[in-house]
Chain length 182, copies 2
Amino acid sequence: MRRPNRGPRAAAENRAALITAAREAFATAGYNAPLTEVARAAGVGQGSLYRHFPDRVSLALAVFEDSVADLEALAARPGTTLDDVLNLITEQTVASTAFITMVSVPPRPDPRIVEVRDRVARVLESVLPEARRTGRVRPDITADDLVLAVGMVAVLLSNLPASERTETTGRMWRLLRHGIEA
Amino acid sequence: MRRPNRGPRAAAENRAALITAAREAFATAGYNAPLTEVARAAGVGQGSLYRHFPDRVSLALAVFEDSVADLEALAARPGTTLDDVLNLITEQTVASTAFITMVSVPPRPDPRIVEVRDRVARVLESVLPEARRTGRVRPDITADDLVLAVGMVAVLLSNLPASERTETTGRMWRLLRHGIEA
DNA sequence: TAACAACCGGACGTTATCGTCCGGTTGCCC
DNA sequence: GGGCAACCGGACGATAACGTCCGGTTGTTA
């Protein structure tokens, strides 16, 4: 059996370090965080970064796969409500605006991002019928409306200093919750 | 009486051309439109641009003075309601996201921008009491909440292709209007 | 142990925008 | 008509980030 050669630092190790550093950079500086800085923080050269992740999107997908998976896991759990899903998304957004910003307001169209957006939309769709039945949401609100709404909040937060994010989120969701209720 | 000397093209003429070009650039490319392009479109050198307007903020203030004045004029007219003000702001935002983006979500703190923000907030405050009295708005909604909300929509729009702006604005304001109502 | 395959990291060229600097021009004033 | 004050425009250097390229290193394989 042919095992691949390895350089001074294992490729997998570098890859993991890059994802960790990128997660932090995205949280600090938003979706457009400089990739140069990510490489530096990971203790890795530019070359290794671009070898593992040819562009920003592929790096971001690796970083945020967990976030989508968490949403899907929550939706799969019986008894999960729309409020539960919105709460999780809100928490994710306060911690890091990058994920929802990428999903909801991509700088430019990209099929890989569309795919993730669809997964998020499906999560919302899965809890919408129950929310309509119990009157938690007006019947004309669509999953797309909600994707836009969470994106709108995320983009707002990404333009605010981290210190104001929690409070601003509270204020805006107070408006939006009333807005979606039946 | 001492009249200032004038160069080959009148200073006032250049200034006006710059403001016109900047208004268009801001509308097309958002608040962060490249100033180089503004100078080119105005048929003026970089030097003249920066002489008349030392930085982006001073140019933007000149461009958007009209917008603030329009809001203040509307608020001064008797019988103006909160809905009227929000409608005007929405129209302004669909036409150009730059004004409200600058006011509500400035890239970095600037006293001159704070001043404009305060003027906008005062306009909203002037129509809030009547809106509360007639039940058009919940009593705990502040002018600051509204400044943030219009800013949130503006930032969302500025990240969307112009073709989707009208429809998206409609969808988000449908949510937000319900959200502010009593 | 000799040679090679895979991988490493950072130097480098590219692009975009900013803001400054300065040689040149115009028209007023004496 | 001579000279100066104000103004013009674009060349220029600085900065920031991107993405590529390549000389060097490591560990495996024969």
